[in-house]
Point group: C2
Chain length 143, copies 2
Amino acid sequence: MNDDTLKLKNQLCFPLYACAKEVVKKYSPLLDAIGLTYTQYIAMMVLWEKKSMNVKSLGEHLYLDSGTLTPLLKKMEAQGLVMRKRAEKDERNVIVSITKKGEELKAKAYQIPEQMSACISLPPEEAKMLYQLLYKVLGQISV
Amino acid sequence: MNDDTLKLKNQLCFPLYACAKEVVKKYSPLLDAIGLTYTQYIAMMVLWEKKSMNVKSLGEHLYLDSGTLTPLLKKMEAQGLVMRKRAEKDERNVIVSITKKGEELKAKAYQIPEQMSACISLPPEEAKMLYQLLYKVLGQISV
DNA sequence: ATTAATTAAATTGTACTCAATATATTTATT
DNA sequence: AATAAATATATTGAGTACAATTTAATTAAT
């Protein structure tokens, strides 16, 4: 409640906000080269691993809702990276699944994580610490 | 270059991106109560401290450019929180300065940092560690 | 079985965010 | 002084991101 309480330098939220933004910005040229945006990239990472998933579940993995995902996935469908199809068992669900073209894109994406870690060169222990602290906050906050 | 390289769980960028988003989202109801968005809030923090600053310099403090700040500051001017005025010495600069109403808003904002830290309850050493790691990455990346 | 409640996507509207470009002003060069 | 280069904002367009609402489908309750 003193005079420093509201200084930007004393907030934890701000470096979090700014750092996330700058990191995503740093990805842009790398992702441009394979025709993805950052949001599309993290969606593809889930689909490269899981092959297929409904929108709701994809949103839980990515912390995104249908308002963001629906138009994003439609664009990715238009690019031929994914297919969207209502589930037969429960037609409320839209199943998003990766296409052959989407699978093939993975080969081009392999280099991206290492190119990025060259930009953000934290020592391994510090990177691990940061990773753990971020997931700790993420776990607490979404309660 | 192995099969785990592109898994979401192995990226440092993702918890950073998701955590920043969730934290900002957690601020929303608190900031709604005083009529600010998160971006307006961090801009106000700079102005509560510095009183006055040109757009360029404000953008350097916040890691934002004129494309974001110009419309943001116009809205804040319309709300009576700030004034915008071309500098007399160098008319390329727009000086943003806080108004009486903007100053008065500070009293209502004092409670927000503590309300937020109740939501994100990291032990002090861990919060400090996270803070330092984020600024370290931020410093490296913007080179 | 019919109605009510719940769930999953989609839609709408508001607010960033940034790249790229345009405009106006100032400074540096010739 | 006239021209070129640099600087600070503003504008435009594309892409999120989310709250709130709508629609359609499913499940629960009577």
